[in-house]
Symmetry: C2
Subunit: 464 residues, 2 copies
Amino acid sequence: MKRIKIIDVLKSQDFGQSVNVKGWVRTKRGSKAVNFIALNDGSTIKNVQIVADVEKFDAELLKQITTGACLSVVGTLVQSQGAGQTSEIQATEIQVLGLCDAEYPMQKKGQTFEYMRQHAHMRLRTNTFGAVMRIRHNMAIAIHKFFHDHGFFYFHTPIITASDCEGAGEMFQVTTKNLYDLKMDEEGKIDYSDDFFGKMTSLTVSGQLEGELGATALGAIYTFGPTFRAENSNTPRHLAEFWMIEPEVAFNDINDNMDLAEEFIKYCVQWALDNCQDDLEFLNKMIDKTLLERLHFVVEHDFVRLKYTEGIRILEEAVEKGHKFEFPVSWGMDLASEHERYLVEQHFKKPVILTDYPKEIKAFYMKQNDDGKTVRAMDVLFPQIGEIIGGSEREDSYEKLMARVEELDIPMKDMWWYLDTRRFGTCPHSGFGLGFERLILFVTGMQNIRDVIPFPRTPKTAEF
Amino acid sequence: MKRIKIIDVLKSQDFGQSVNVKGWVRTKRGSKAVNFIALNDGSTIKNVQIVADVEKFDAELLKQITTGACLSVVGTLVQSQGAGQTSEIQATEIQVLGLCDAEYPMQKKGQTFEYMRQHAHMRLRTNTFGAVMRIRHNMAIAIHKFFHDHGFFYFHTPIITASDCEGAGEMFQVTTKNLYDLKMDEEGKIDYSDDFFGKMTSLTVSGQLEGELGATALGAIYTFGPTFRAENSNTPRHLAEFWMIEPEVAFNDINDNMDLAEEFIKYCVQWALDNCQDDLEFLNKMIDKTLLERLHFVVEHDFVRLKYTEGIRILEEAVEKGHKFEFPVSWGMDLASEHERYLVEQHFKKPVILTDYPKEIKAFYMKQNDDGKTVRAMDVLFPQIGEIIGGSEREDSYEKLMARVEELDIPMKDMWWYLDTRRFGTCPHSGFGLGFERLILFVTGMQNIRDVIPFPRTPKTAEF
């Protein structure tokens, strides 16, 4: 008999039919006459209830049915008498595929999130992490579908790189060198000529620069891959290894870029609302009671588009009126999360796209405005989490780009290929980056970024 | 006026309408009276022909329109008089967005593939690499769509790992240690306690083991991410950084696994045939004249399912009948590509799934058959390239798995989490791996794996 997934069994109305389900025991309760077994196979947050008449089964077998055990059950699909479920299975055959003893780490309910992280290999079998992982999957699918439907090409930028020279301090080095026998050159520097790539290499911090190569050839691309930061930040918002989405589009200006970002992020959130109802309802009930409200807030409002200078003015007015911020407000500063959230949650009560930031606080490749002070950056600000997307129109003038590179003394010797995009058939283009785990935090209501990726990498932690 | 992508312009029948296209000049030719400009924007392999009457435009402007230059063109969509195209644009306004001088590396046609690799940042603007990258995108979309439609969850296994101890010799080390000041412990070993993760870490060679954690919780998962091999192999078939797809399914046995692999790979190839016609026709004409035939060969045949022992018998018979192989044939050996191709191309004239290999040549985690000699491995063999998929049913018995681990002396101290899947509610499960670039080689007819990924990483090469 072919196994049916529990998500499909629960939808079925074929009462009286014989079915086979397989999964793991979440709970068992019962009386002398009958056992009720809640079985879950990961296909949905809902369990199917197995009803086993005690007299029909061997007592030893029933004893083996403990929390975490793996079962194959054949039985008759019947209409449920209990509340909250439409169907259940009256068992005729039960086979224990895998025993589970009392050492099972997910035995007890109500463990802390920290306990769950230490048992991340088993936490996937719980309601909360099952829900988070199914939503994570759905967000990835929404992203691919959105870009594919809009004529973007998925573009794999390299993970190992020799050219992200800027932020060298925050990068992981990649090497095959024998660290017990490091060759030095005449100047006392490590000789990388015998390293795998013949030079010093690191893990990428962003695919954007290579993404621009893709966009200026294929028109519109997006990346979706792992990126790395060797920052020693032990916070609920930082991972050393995380996934990033970076669309880049030839011929888009900053306004097109804002349109794209707003349409894109609304599409993802709407996808969750349309495709993850059961999991969202669970999280809304158990993790964050304002979750669904916040998701609707995003899809139902036009995003406010506001220049940075205007944003600062609003914040300064708030200060004048007596609003207390932890960090002082002044033109030229980078906004803190409290400032971003004030604009979104208190002032506009809508998501905000802030543009035209001071050039000093933004990256060298952003298009310079005529005022000589600001660049065509844009950050999308959301309730609760602040910045969710950061992007810009790119400087497409070779001369202006080089002037900025020299001003900032950025080492470009390994970046000739990037400059070539401005030398040969340059074009206006724009793009942005979305940290995937930031999106998952927003869509699940989870509070710690370590709880929205299967196996988090953080300082001193690379388990599993 | 809103820009229209060239792929959409070429489909349009709205002759007489005014349109705006933007893109890069592929060629310009003409007479004294009229210039014909082939413009491409990456959305399709096809160019749109821009017709510019010389008398209507400034001579200086027309001179700036060189191969590689970036243009914005406004004009009237008209029915084409030329062969091979249905529409063209009679230009009314031309703006040069980006000049392109004679140093443009893609200036000349007919450059070697090696030249193209040295200019990988610009090769994306050529017909061949545009086609390959669009097909690569489509294969990624097909993979996500297939698994999503089948109820699998996309599962991000870690890139940085402390536990892939097996193949340590072929792994890239990841570190933030200061190599100029390496602390040693009392035994003279490097002290990793102050490294970022507090221990020695590497780049993953496979997400399978973590994937099994996902499958035994969520039911059915797939990975699709970068994997790494620090092998010093300078061949047309090896990359140091490549993308891999690894589905893993709880409750699937080896037969379900074969069904899944066959359905999956046929779906991908059929997707290419259905969605990449123009690019495939170009590659079939310019790169490999048997490409389309080979793609049809795969989707139109049932795959032969054959035990390894039977495969060896067929090869031995071939030898007896006078067929010459480079490598001798005997039970226990791993098949070479020539053997795999003989079975597929000459003996069966169908794709072949070979199963039940000798345990000595397969991984420790594969399910052991009762004969004590073979394991439930399966390799899918294709024409031209040989093995495209490798997988197995996994050993789900804790005792049998541990016996094999001890037999092979595999260090498992960092792998307690993997063994826990067999300790707590173990279940039959199966999975396989597909090297993404292998699939792209097969579907594009390209001969060198460096030509099917945007920026290949190979020994001594990490450019761009």
